[in-house]
């Protein structure tokens, strides 16, 4: 619904992580529906603070009046970016796909260099935060492995996204092989970045370019009877919501209708009796940190429902905190303080639970929370794969 449906109840304000720790950000109500009344097409935006919003979408999930709060803000961010010169770091992060590609090709060198003091100095000059370790890249990306696995009546095309491809291909391979072992035919086609980093950094054109390429590829498989599955919840939200929405991709609706979260998909296989999951004991107490974008998908928490079937596993579900990293948001120097405060808040909530490890569907959440808690962090799929491996 448009801004006119806002009744100014302030529920969204209670839910905004950035507003909680950054007094310069006026909060979703003011940045969204309130300010929207004054944003005019022909007039240059003056609301610089609008860029402080991390697009976590918590405001929108909480709004009882269905106002598309974060969408209004996203459009204002895009407008602002169009009208102003973006800082260098935004261009860099908009194009994480190519950077990651290069990083992965040069993985052994890049991973070393990015941890050197002098590189940190350069990064800082470019507006990149250096307090977090930069994610390291893998040479053997998912794209360089098996592209086709498994046989069976169910067919999926796996949208792995950048993080699993370049940084954690092992998780991607685990998911691929798990699905295959359950009688699902898995295809991993050549694919681009989902487009979210470009969108988040104000580059609508680049985001659309990526989205169009992906949509064309995925639609071809959908026509052949494949379902699309994703593991990264931010890629998922972009495919499902932004392709037909703000990116306005021709095949967007089709992608959106046929795309599933990998755990949602697994669960349906189990509940429909297509397959059985007989996990072995995993004795562990974990905090399952729900990524903001999984909340925003509105599909419930399917991984939690699978994890609860693993004997011996105690799972504390944590959904009230944003990890603060929000993709490339926290890697920008100007957002560093916000990101750190939010990371610490989320981490102290986790530490109160006395857990051995963190589980989260989002690579960025895992990186941030692992850094601030000192605990290991896993993708839910890693635990599921692990529990299936045991004799």
């Amino acid at each position: 619904m448009s801004f006119e449906h806002c009744v100014r109840c302030t529920v969204c304000v209670e839910n905004c992580p950035v507003f909680k720790v950054e007094p310069l950000f006026p909060g979703p109500k003011q940045a969204g529906p309130d300010a929207q009344r004054f944003r005019l097409d022909g007039e240059k935006s003056v609301d610089q603070w609008v860029r402080l919003c991390s697009q976590c979408k918590r405001c929108e999930v909480s709004c009882p009046n269905d106002v598309e709060v974060s969408e209004i803000i996203l459009n204002a961010q895009l407008k602002y970016s169009r009208e102003h010169l973006s800082p260098f770091s935004s261009h860099l992060f908009a194009n994480t796909y190519y950077i990651s590609g290069l990083g992965s090709l040069a993985a052994p060198v890049f991973n070393r260099v990015s941890s050197w003091g002098i590189s940190k100095g350069v990064m800082s000059l470019l507006g990149i935060a250096t307090s977090l370790p930069f994610p390291s890249f893998r040479f053997l990306t998912l794209q360089r492995g098996w592209k086709r696995r498994g046989r069976g009546a169910r067919k999926v095309v796996f949208f792995h996204g950048c993080f699993l491809n370049f940084n954690r291909p092992d998780i991607g391979r685990g998911i691929r092989d798990l699905l295959a072992s359950l009688g699902v035919q898995v295809i991993i086609p050549k694919q681009s970045c989902c487009g979210l980093p470009a969108l988040g950094n104000g580059d609508l054109d680049m985001a659309r370019k990526y989205a169009q390429q992906n949509a064309a590829t995925l639609a071809r498989y959908i026509d052949k009877g494949h379902d699309v599955v994703y593991a990264c919840t931010s890629c998922g939200l972009t495919l499902v919501r932004d392709y037909p929405g703000v990116l306005d991709i021709t095949l967007g609706e089709k992608i959106s209708e046929n795309t599933y979260n990998v755990h949602e998909y697994l669960l349906s296989l189990i509940e429909n009796g297509y397959t059985e999951l007989a996990p072995a004991q995993v004795n562990m107490t974990i905090a399952y940190h729900i990524p903001c974008h999984l909340r925003a998908l509105g599909i419930g928490y399917p991984a939690a429902r699978i994890l609860e079937r693993i004997p011996g596993l105690t799972c504390h579900l944590m959904e009230d905190n944003c990890c603060g990293l929000s993709g490339s948001y926290g890697f920008k120097k100007k957002n560093q303080g916000i990101s750190r405060k939010l990371g610490q808040l989320a981490s102290s909530a986790i530490r109160e639970r006395e857990v051995e490890a963190i589980v989260s569907d989002c690579g960025a959440c895992r990186m941030q929370l692992s850094h601030y808690t000192g605990l290991p962090a896993f993708d839910p799929s890693e635990l599921i794969v692990e529990s299936m491996k045991k004799p």
Binding site: V7, C9, T10, V11, V13, E14, N15, C16, F19, K20, V21, P23, G27, E60, V61, S62, C63, P64, N65, D66, V240, R241, P244, G245, E253, I255, S256, E257, N258, T259, Y260, E264, Y265, L267, S268, E271, N272, R295, A296, L297, G298, I299, G300, Y301, R305, E308, L317, E319, D320, L345, S348, A349, E352
Partner: protein, 398 residues
């Protein structure tokens, strides 16, 4: 893809919906809550109003209008429900104080006394007649709380302001989660050399563990302290909502948040599933029984057009008091506008009247004739009817 069929699907995640859901998960049922957004509870004081007319709220029930939903629950039912609520909260970071048989008052942010029944422990020490002096400590620039409203015209209350460096309730409440902030704040109070008496704060003493924080401050400054609710956004309301939601998740319930119902599937007199509006493919949530607790106009359970009122999920028949000209009194601030009686009329089994659905139960502020603002029965009514609807639903399932 069809997911598992839930025993019960609760539509609307407010006080009523969570009460039903928590009772049912406690009895071992598989429950899902679907909610369009966060409930009115987030804007409330967190105090449970039951009925404000008498010293014992239950004594006021016979005086209510003939159709008031409290009559369907009865005194014992209401007491059981409120005790259930207290028990649920007992093991959480925000336990409650009070008994269903006794009303009390709390100090409000405008300096008046509000009649209510159960209160969060952080407000248990609120002003009583025997207090000779109270010192209010607020925060520089804090929006939504103006201590001079409280102190004006009263000699036994004064206030001091602390500069927390931020001015929103949620910002300050977040700072209170930080130990070093608390340390500085406490030593600042210790230097104030306050006169003897209680110390009151706007309700911003942390989000997750307010009672722990309150106790820490109280121990260190050696005074009894209490919180005063603020205007919305309300931290005690947020705490209550988040606590209920996480208790529900902990008890094995699933939630689908931020989604509106797009369509309803039914077969004969049974609802089989609802589907959620989402971009692309609607997700389907099937259930054996359904509880509707989508609230009144504020939350969107009811929607008024120029001349009618609609129920937004099942298009149930709605009781409407006359035509639009009968809905409002002349004076807007007068209590008891007729439109407050609008809502869904149910029979003694909490099924909506004049509908074909046999597995649908209705609870909370969407019920007709509740007149919540006039009777001051908000959360109490939601808890009592939510509890009763859940019990009837349980009988139906067995």
């Amino acid at each position: 893809m069809t997911p598992l069929t839930y025993d019960v699907v609760v539509i609307g995640g407010g006080m009523a919906g969570f009460t039903s859901a928590l009772y049912l998960t406690g009895q071992g049922y598989k429950v899902a809550i679907i909610s369009k957004g966060d409930p009115v509870c987030c804007l409330s004081t967190g105090c449970i109003d039951v009925l404000s007319s008498d010293k014992n709220p239950l004594d006021g029930i016979p005086g209510l209008s003939r159709d008031h939903p409290y009559h369907l629950v009865g005194k014992k039912g209401i007491t059981d429900a409120l005790n259930f609520f207290k028990r649920i909260m007992q093991d959480t970071p925000i336990p409650y104080s009070g008994t269903p048989r006794k009303n009390r008052t709390i100090l409000t942010p405008i300096g008046t006394a509000k009649t209510t029944c159960l209160v969060p422990m952080t407000m248990a020490g609120s002003e009583t007649e025997s207090d000779t002096y109270i010192h209010v400590i607020s925060f520089k620039g804090l929006k939504d709380f103006f201590p001079s409203y409280i102190t004006s015209g009263r000699r036994n209350i004064r206030f001091s302001l602390y500069d927390a460096g931020t001015s929103s309730t949620i910002g300050i409440a977040t700072l209170f989660e930080d130990k070093s902030f608390r340390r500085e704040f406490i030593s600042w109070i210790q230097n104030l050399e306050l006169p003897h008496g209680k110390v009151a704060f706007p309700a911003v003493l942390g989000i997750r563990n307010p009672l722990k924080i309150l106790t820490e401050i109280s121990d260190q400054i050696g005074r009894e302290i209490f919180e005063i609710p603020t205007l919305p956004p309300s931290i005690p309301g947020l705490r209550l909502f988040r606590t209920l939601k996480s208790s529900f998740i902990k008890s094995g319930g699933d939630n689908y948040w931020g989604k509106v119902i797009a369509s309803v599937e039914s077969q004969g007199d049974q609802i089989e599933a609802v589907t959620l509006k989402s971009p692309g493919r609607p997700s389907r949530v099937p259930g054996k029984a359904f509880i509707l607790s989508t609230g009144s106009f504020v939350s969107g359970g009811l929607y008024a057009t120029r001349n009618t009122v609609k129920e937004t999920v099942f298009d149930l028949p709605v009781f409407v008091p006359g035509t639009r000209k009968d809905w409002f009194k002349e004076d807007f601030f007068q209590a008891g506008h007729a439109i407050e009686t609008a809502g869904i009329k149910v029979d003694s089994s909490f099924r909506p009247v004049n509908t074909r659905f046999g597995n649908l139960f209705v609870s909370g502020s969407i019920l007709s004739h509740a007149e919540i603002m006039k009777n001051h029965c908000g959360h109490g009514l939601a808890i009592a009817t939510g509890f009763r609807a859940a019990k009837i639903c349980e009988e139906f399932l067995s």
